[in-house]
Symmetry: C2
Subunit: 448 residues, 2 copies
């Protein structure tokens, strides 16, 4: 029965070997939440892990099964990616983002986790002295963890107070350090579900060119800013991207969320031709490969996994083709996340919570996969543990690089009325047990 007492919770945290809750990985939090369910004898409301929560696109499943029947399991996949996938991807980016990326510079990876890990790895090696990966914060904690594991330094700044034109000054200051190997962010933002405006993308692109920094733009949630109707092939509005404003870009595009295909670990790294064909003297010597793209494919991807599941490449190719042909509306298929996000926000707000990242340079943020929730001035780790004690699991904002108190709330698996009612009951109980002082609330609002 929730709430557990504090000793019960502390025992589970200790038993999982978690030394600091605020820096635990999402997978560790998820594992902790599962253990707590056993103790409580009832389910936790899982809002920590971004599992798709929708069925996988059928076009992918059928194509993958057909590929398996045709015998691809016996053959190493071409490490470059199968031609059909590369061509489908190129057409997909033209249809939905209105950008030109040739097939030869698009490569499949074992999810965007591998895509980002390997990209950070090679960018961090490309220019001696540029040993720091920069992030727009808050960000996906795993991507910061990747840089750390690779032995690189990390930096970045919290965008909350730097939206619109105000983005330029801190970004310029960052790039002026001269040690930035790449700038990583996801758009829509994980965890805040903010979306960069065209003005902000222009600033990022312009400075990336000016300071020769490669931008790594993660499109994990492509098209899921439901304030616009994206996803009609070849028609405006096109999905915003920094690729409109610089040649210094690498896009990450995962099938995990847009096609609900997370289980098969399949994604794309899309290098601009300028990045792909770039000569770096250090890479030429170290990998004995003439270009960044060759070093990436034959040096790094080969070393890390020797390519990506052969059958899953056929699945992704088929899904991209169906989307481009207009027979698979991936934006509409995922719009359920918008509805769940809207409803979950209402439940949190009704029970005393506030949005931490609430708007895009003045416009209220979209409803979608995530949002950020604070509670009075309660510190993040306390809020995370207390809410877990009441049977609701989420990850803390400091673990995402935010300077602000609060949690990342993921709504993806909120697939039933019962779950929303359970959430409402538990938050109401939490709210009743934790009165927000008027002074704290005023102080919080003044900070915002």
């Amino acid at each position: 029965m929730f709430p557990l007492n504090t000793d019960q919770l502390a025992a589970q945290v200790a038993a999982r070997g978690i030394l600091d809750i605020s820096t635990a990985t999402i997978r560790q939090i998820s594992s902790l939440a599962s253990a707590i369910e056993q103790v409580a004898g009832e389910p936790v409301v899982h809002m920590e892990l971004g599992n798709p929560g929708l069925p996988a696109a059928q076009a992918g499943i059928e194509a993958q099964i057909e590929a398996l029947r045709s015998g691809v399991a016996a053959k190493y996949p071409n490490i470059n990616g199968i031609p059909r996938l590369k061509e489908a991807a190129s057409a997909f980016f033209k249809a939905f983002l209105d950008i030109d990326i040739p097939p030869r510079t698009i490569v499949p990876t074992v999810g965007s986790m591998q895509g980002c890990f390997t990209t950070e790895m090679l960018l961090g090696q490309s220019k001696p002295g540029c040993d720091t990966i920069a992030f727009l914060l808050p960000g996906f904690p795993a991507q910061v963890h990747q840089a750390k594991v690779l032995g690189f330094k990390t930096t970045g700044f919290d965008i909350l107070k730097h939206r619109g034109d105000a983005l330029e000054a801190p970004l310029r200051a960052l790039f002026e350090q001269g040690n930035i190997a790449g700038l990583v962010y996801s758009n829509p933002n994980n965890p805040a579900w903010t979306n960069l405006t065209e003005r902000e993308l222009e600033i990022i692109g312009r400075l990336a060119t000016e300071y020769d920094v490669v931008v790594v733009e993660d499109h994990a949630y492509m098209g899921m800013d439901y304030r616009n109707r994206f996803g009609h092939p070849g028609r405006e509005p096109f999905i915003p991207t920094v690729a409109k404003y610089t040649d210094n870009y690498i896009l990450l595009c995962s099938a995990s969320k847009i096609f609900s295909y997370a289980g098969e670990r399949i994604a794309l790294v899309c290098m601009s031709p300028a990045v792909f064909d770039r000569h770096y003297p250090y890479l030429e010597e170290f990998y004995e490969m003439p270009t960044y793209g060759d070093a990436y494919i034959f040096g790094v991807l080969y070393a890390t996994s020797s390519g990506t599941s052969h059958s899953a490449q056929y699945a992704l190719a088929a899904m991209l083709e169906a989307a481009t042909q207009g027979t698979l509306d991936f934006v509409d298929d995922c719009s359920e996340y918008g509805r769940r996000g809207k409803r979950a926000k209402e439940v949190f707000r009704r029970n005393g919570f506030h949005l931490v990242y609430a708007d895009d340079a003045g416009t209220p943020i979209s409803d979608g996969f995530f949002f950020t929730a604070g509670y009075g001035d309660m510190p993040s780790d306390e809020l995370q543990l207390e809410l877990l004690r009441y049977g609701v699991s989420a990850i803390s904002l400091p673990s995402t690089g935010s300077k602000h108190n609060g949690l990342r709330i993921c709504i993806s698996t909120m697939g039933s009325d019962e779950l929303f009612e359970m959430l409402d009951r538990r938050l109401a109980r939490f709210h009743a047990d934790h009165p927000i002082s008027v002074a704290a609330e005023i102080s919080r609002q003044q900070v915002q």
Copy 2:
């Protein structure tokens, strides 16, 4: 038409951006061989890339298809591996190697390429000052490349002159350096197809315990020493392993060759409980995880790909189960490689070639997936390029860390009489055009 002239060949090498043929990756050589086919207008005999060359095990394909139909594509795989796979693997190692590894210390990876990459990475971080990965040489070049890419030092020694009891002295000297993070080798050996004797495994295990070095034993070609009949579940002879002689081991076991499942990139990293549960102060601080096993799963595997194809895990589980139940005889299924190896060796020998690594401490080596071929005293890179000019592609021994001249010959895709006849014709032409001097041959035999 083969042979090409030297200018035609040089142009293709340059066009592929290959700066040094002796250090080019296998994938680059494979790509070069494909380009040369275009120029020659006839197929190259591909003996460079270890593609399975047999159909994938049907039990795997059926299980993978069933898993896809049941909806696993939509769900992130547990990064620990699905319980069914972990349990099947534990039973498999008991049945065929007669060793006890519990399910909890067995984890799936994206092929043994990821298994080795991530293992080297974590071993190289575990003990400050131990920044060098050691290899028994010759070895699989990709595993040495992995250590280099990760920024570690590499070392090792050529086993040709150090078989049997003579293995102990150089291994002790290596471990006495005090900077060895792990010792990596594959058994059967890639590229030489030597097999370590029980006496040699005992020496390795004993010294690994004495010097606290973790042994990474790659079983890519498990059971394929056809001088013995392995592969009857629960019955002797059991497949030899260092796990009999030390607790300081990690086994790599890939589905790529033993089940001809290379396309799906699925393998297992099997840590001894002693390694899994080991506390390293540095890992505890860096990853905030108490044990090596936790740091490996939640810190490293999470960062590199967030797990392994969900459906392929079901495939591997089903294949391991079928093998343990005796309905899938993976050793017999792969015995075709022994026949192809025997026949290819005869063709090479008939045309003036000799085996470079010819015996296991006095006993002639097994016939199998690879063998090593030298030609008089012709240097390796010259032999590789000349043979390619005549339409036969292989990789050079120096690229595998060998000190000796010659090539690694892979017989896996020699699936027809026509291919063997083509090989014979081309080697005969090569032999006729390149007389071996008697002096060179005597000199070579004196060195052996």
